[in-house]
Amino acid sequence: MNKMDSAVPGEQNVSYRQIGKPRTRIDSPGKVFGKTPYAGDYVMPNMLHAKVLRSKLPSARMTRLDVSKARDLPGVACVLTYKDLKIGTVATDIPAQTGFRRRDTDQQILVDEIVRYQGEPIALVAAESVEIAEHALSLIEVELEPVPGVYDVFEAQKPDAPKVFGDDNIVASYKVRKGDVEAGFAAAETIVENTFRTQYIEHAFLEPEVGLGWEDEQGVINIRTSTQAVETFRYIADAIGIPHSKVRIRGALVGGGFGGKCDVTVELYIALLTLKTGRPVRLGYTREDSFYGHGKRHPFIISHKTGFAKDGRITASKIDITSESGPYAFMSPYVLMYATEAGPGPYLVDNVHIDSRSVATNNMYTSAFRGFGATQACIAYEQQMDEAAKVLGMDPIELRRINLLKTGDAIATGFEVQSAVWTEECMDRAWAALGEKPKDEGAIRYGHGIAAYQQGYGRMIWLHDTAEGWVGVEMDGTVVVRSGMTDIGAGQTSSLAQIAGELLGVDMMDITVYNSDSSTTPLAGTSSATRGLYMSGNAVRNAATAVRNRLAARAAQHFGVADSDIDFADSRVFVASDREKSLPFKELIATCASEGIHRSELAIFRAPFGDWIDPETGQGQVHPDYTYGAHAVQVAVDTETGEVTILKSVGAHDVGQCVNIAAVEGQIEGGVAQGHGYALSEELIYKDGCLVTPSLSEYLCPTSMDSPRIECIILESRSGLGPFGAKGIGEPGHTPAASAVANAVADAIGARVHDFPLTPEKIARAVSATRDNG
């Protein structure tokens, strides 16, 4: 379901033939036939099957490792331990396509002495069958001596805490100093303080990590895998000790990612085993492996102290942010940066004071997850706004309205947002869509909740992000696009076809997109950070525009008109002012080919480049631009049992410009469901570092019975930095959803549960506490 709003005044004449239309994605037919091959569906002759031996303890010293029995087992081709590794470590930083200097955050590939988290890999086995590989694992003799670990971020910061990372367990820390926060509090009529906690959660993509590697005739290690980032080939090459040019990552269509398939996992083990054995090696994680084998969403503890003037205007915002990194860095510094930047939310606050840190523990390591810290920030600032409204006796919508950023206002880091900031419009539309709140009946109470947000899209500007794209026209007038962008299910390749098709006047179904191959498609960076469409879409737009311009020049010569009078549609080229004058597109192409006019283009798109923000004040630009919007939710809460039913869920977002409206809705609806699970039922529970919920019967993602109808309200300001003015929506659809649920629950029961997830038990306890208090 969706409602569309049109463009900003002055751009009403923009009309597209394919852009913005609810087109069938080019990847859909193969998927409904069940014939689309995913990474796990590929096999090769003479293929070996791999398994990973993991530590059962979260903090230990390995005192013995004997793999001789496993090696002697018939059918075992290879067993690798740390002793067999040439390098021993692998980078955990963002897989760079630009060559910025990597942080010093390498991780051991296999345990050499110290185990730092439960599930840390100890040995790799490749065998003739999965069963033999599993048997071999059981023959590996490992002795682990428990070492005192630290499993709490506050304990980890104490001087005598066991050291997991560096000499103080601090993986990263930032601060923001804007205005005079003490003066702001002095000027406040009311000060509201709250602390909010979020939990570890799991991406739970339906396709566990999987890949198949082989060595080709040039000695290149090829790995076909399910990844959001083919650029990891460089880290893999570095880790196995061969040149970058000798590793090729070939992505397949990805069975869900949500940030969880950005880091290197199976592909490194496959590379090591392929290199060692010279044979094709397949490694597919079981669901349990997947629970233990990739980084999770960071738990955060966020304290807000906010000053409000009598009229509700925010006078000062002091925020303290702690995230849990687990034992390795991975994306923790960047995730913390996002949370810090988003700290006060989409509100105009002149006096800001933020301290943030990411703390190492022996719980599972954490990394990218849709929203990348901005989601957790939203859970805190939006609950804080509702709590403040309660204290101030104000309507939560009106309190937000007074404080919302407007176009051109400066955010917490002092950066003035240049694109449209339509948060208020989104908030009003989403809230209105909820309609009347039903009357409470018996134990059932109804609640409405709103959450507004700000989410950066694109990479932090000091990472100097670029993407390349290639567009070419075949002799029959069909079009080929090449882009390294991975397709994780959101329709990335289809959008590229739509963009090239729009510019060249060729239907997207006549366009073939080669993607996600680190050797043969121009690198476009990861499909993460809400940068896929923004970066690869602009690169393809640039390439298609260059081709279009050359073809238009030749057509203009043919028709004797100005280049600007040439247009392309329906596989024809024509004179815009006199449409009778036209040619089949392929005839123009034949002419160009015979004259040696270049029918293809490799283009680069550069996002805005900049320097780090000021380390002392946190002032400067972090992201190229931001997406704004709001989410509203209606819930029914059973006050006796604490059960929550989500009745309505409305996401309103300014997406700048839809490329494919069905895909935009898909991002919003899927993000919303993930947000509902985040708020209510999903939690990875670690007890002294050990996971007690390692299955999909214990880790509770929403089912179709838990999910409500989801309404999407899509606004188009055409002010974004993406192609045709698009803003990113991959993460933003998810960012405010959980916060809105929390606010709706609090509205229903008249009490706040500060710790996620809002389980029936916590809600029932909060209700009974309000009864006890009067």
């Binding site: 079981t286 604490g642 838990d706």
Partner: protein, 281 residues
Amino acid sequence: MDVYHRPETLQDALALLNGTALTVAAGCTDLFPATPAQELAGQVLDITAIAALRGIDEGADGWRLGAATTWSDILRASLPPAFDMLKQAAREVGSVQIQNAGTIAGNICNASPAADGVPPLLALDAAVELASSTGTRRLALCDFLTGVRQTALRPGEMVTAIEVPRASGAGCSRFLKLGARKYLVISIASVAVRVVAPAGRVEGAALAVGACSPVPLRLTALEQRLCGRAPDDLPDAVDDAAIAGALSPISDIRADAAYRAAAAAELLRRALGDIADGAAG
């Protein structure tokens, strides 16, 4: 798995069981997930091909539910309202896929404290028929279940049927469960309630609670108190403290003990209220 047996007659199955350590498989919906690497170890005896063990028969003495009867079979069976709670539980034991494969004997032999099938069967006074090559014996379900994941099964024995006596086919019934998700979820608490009140007065009641003790329990004291009351008065008879005293819930990742007990009491009130309202179906 070394050897896989899938006999078509009970005699063959019992002969195999005699003297050999076998894992009995009856749908595998609990067995597979509990097994590392999704692989069954040792010898497996699959009883789902034994036609005589599948289906529900009604006789003069009551009902006989074959061990390999699936939850879907139960949902489709024509049974009196006393079994409504069993059907309601059948709809909650897992997804449609699980209901189609999972069996009633599998559920009770798995002996999970949170098994959704057990409270309704307790409230139906079910007995378990156990067979071995040397003979057959019967145990009340409450005696069959001896602890968390423990039963009174002896070596060489298997469950062949669940029996419900004729007298327990009386009354109206209701099953309710609470979980941290709407569906496909391991119960925090579950209740099964059967009330016999032919003339506006309760003549008999059977109440069972799951997931709040090592083995799901009947609340016999409360059942006594309900007798003689009007159906509308039943919910008020549920006393939180008494329920909490009767149960021994554990605190675990799904809920703490106090919340489980309170939830069980609330579910009992609701189930009894639904019966009074005639909304039990």
